[in-house]
């Protein structure tokens, strides 16, 4: 059972429940008063509070297991899945564990690619949904055999707008931008770049063939988010991957330094 939501269900159930019954029932008595005469109730509730509760549960669970959770966001076609397959090869070679939660509207093609690269992966299909939410991620974690240490990659739906608002319980959002896109994406989609801790500039092997100004792009990103880190790489050729792997190691070490190396015994 899901402890956060008490839904007693595994994946793929709907929380946005349907109302088959009619709520707009008629009242035999007269309501005749004008607008403004109703009872005023202070509610003061955050619309994202439900998601935030699930995100906190995910974050605590990952921290307990000393797992670095990263939420990978980008537009479609920036090379997230290729970056992941290369990263998995590198982490596997260093005997470091990682897991992948794949978010797409449809198909499990990406999860298959990840599994073929040698990592445990689970696919979440959002259907018409344009972003993952923390509730779905929580249930996806149930389906993975997590061990202490390692990195959890959550590959979000390819979309530079909607996923910006939804905390999935990650340590950082990592935004991936490829040089075949516009260098002004950070100022066109500022929310995503403002929410991310790292920007990866991918496909730099194509720089000789495209009019992409790296310095201008980095300046745009820093204007939106002065604290954002930047790594330039090509998942295809492997150039720059060392910097990315170092960043992962540094962040995982920082997590251990913050929480202590040894995870507590698992809760019964």
């Amino acid at each position: 059972m899901c402890l956060t939501c008490g839904c007693g269900d595994a994946m793929d159930h709907e929380h946005g429940h349907e109302h088959g019954h009619e709520h707009g029932h008629e009242h035999g008595h007269e309501h005749g008063h004008e607008h403004g005469a109703g009872r005023l109730l202070r509610v003061e509730q955050d619309l994202l509070a439900g998601n935030a509760r699930h995100a906190t549960a995910v974050r605590q669970r990952l921290q307990r297991q000393r797992i670095l959770g990263l939420n990978l966001v980008s537009s479609p076609g920036s090379g997230k899945t290729t970056l992941l397959t290369r990263t998995i090869e590198r982490l596997n070679a260093a005997a470091q564990r990682c897991w992948v939660i794949e978010g797409d509207q449809q198909t499990s093609r990406d999860a298959e690619r990840i599994k073929a690269a040698g990592a445990e992966a689970i696919q979440i299909n959002t259907g018409k949904g344009c972003h993952l939410d923390a509730h779905g991620v929580g249930h996806a974690l149930d389906a993975l055999t997590l061990e202490a240490g390692g990195v959890l990659f959550i590959e979000n739906v390819g979309n530079l707008v909607c996923p910006a608002m939804f905390d999935l319980g990650e340590a950082h959002k990592v935004v991936i931008l490829s040089v075949t896109e516009g260098e002004d994406k950070p100022i066109k989609y500022p929310h995503m770049f403002a929410a991310s801790g790292l920007m990866i500039l991918n496909k730099i092997d194509l720089l000789p063939y495209v009019p992409f100004d790296v310095d201008a792009c980095v300046a745009h990103a820093k204007r939106v988010n002065p604290r954002i880190d930047v790594i330039e790489l090509s998942a295809h050729t492997g150039e720059g991957l060392d910097a990315w792997i170092s960043w992962l190691n540094r962040e995982r070490d920082a997590l251990s330094a913050l929480l202590g190396d040894e995870p507590p015994p698992p809760a019964v």
């Binding site: 709520h23 707009g24 029932h25 607008h35 109703g38 509610v43 003061e44 939106v224």
Partner: protein, 113 residues
């Protein structure tokens, strides 16, 4: 169109309040949207219309209060009111302000029967 899932969260909150505070009809909903939240007001209105169908809030009007964004200038330390992540510091003109408020998305008030 994340506004739709937000509108559905809003309806869930309203339905929970209806059960808790015993009302059967919502006349109006007052929402607060921060200028730095990633929400399009018109899309929110449209999503609200869709999400309230068949609920206690079916006939409710949606009122939206916009709260300005807030950010600290890393250069001069000025606490500025901004309307976008791209706004420069109104005091010294520096770019790269660090946002520190105005991304809220709240339901504030309900008028109910």
């Amino acid at each position: 169109m994340h506004e739709l899932s937000l509108a559905m969260s809003l309806v869930e909150i309203i339905e929970a309040e209806a059960a808790r505070q015993d009302f059967h009809k919502v006349r109006s909903v007052l929402m607060e949207i921060g200028e730095l939240s990633c929400v399009e007001v018109e899309a929110m209105r449209l999503a609200f219309e869709v999400a309230v169908r068949g609920t206690v809030a079916e006939a409710a009007t949606l009122e939206i209060e916009i709260t300005p964004g807030a950010a600290r200038c890393p250069d001069c330390g000025h606490l500025a009111q901004i309307s976008s992540h791209l706004s420069p510091c109104p005091q010294c003109g520096a770019m790269g302000l660090i946002a520190c408020g105005g991304d809220q998305l709240r339901i504030k008030e309900l008028e109910v029967d």
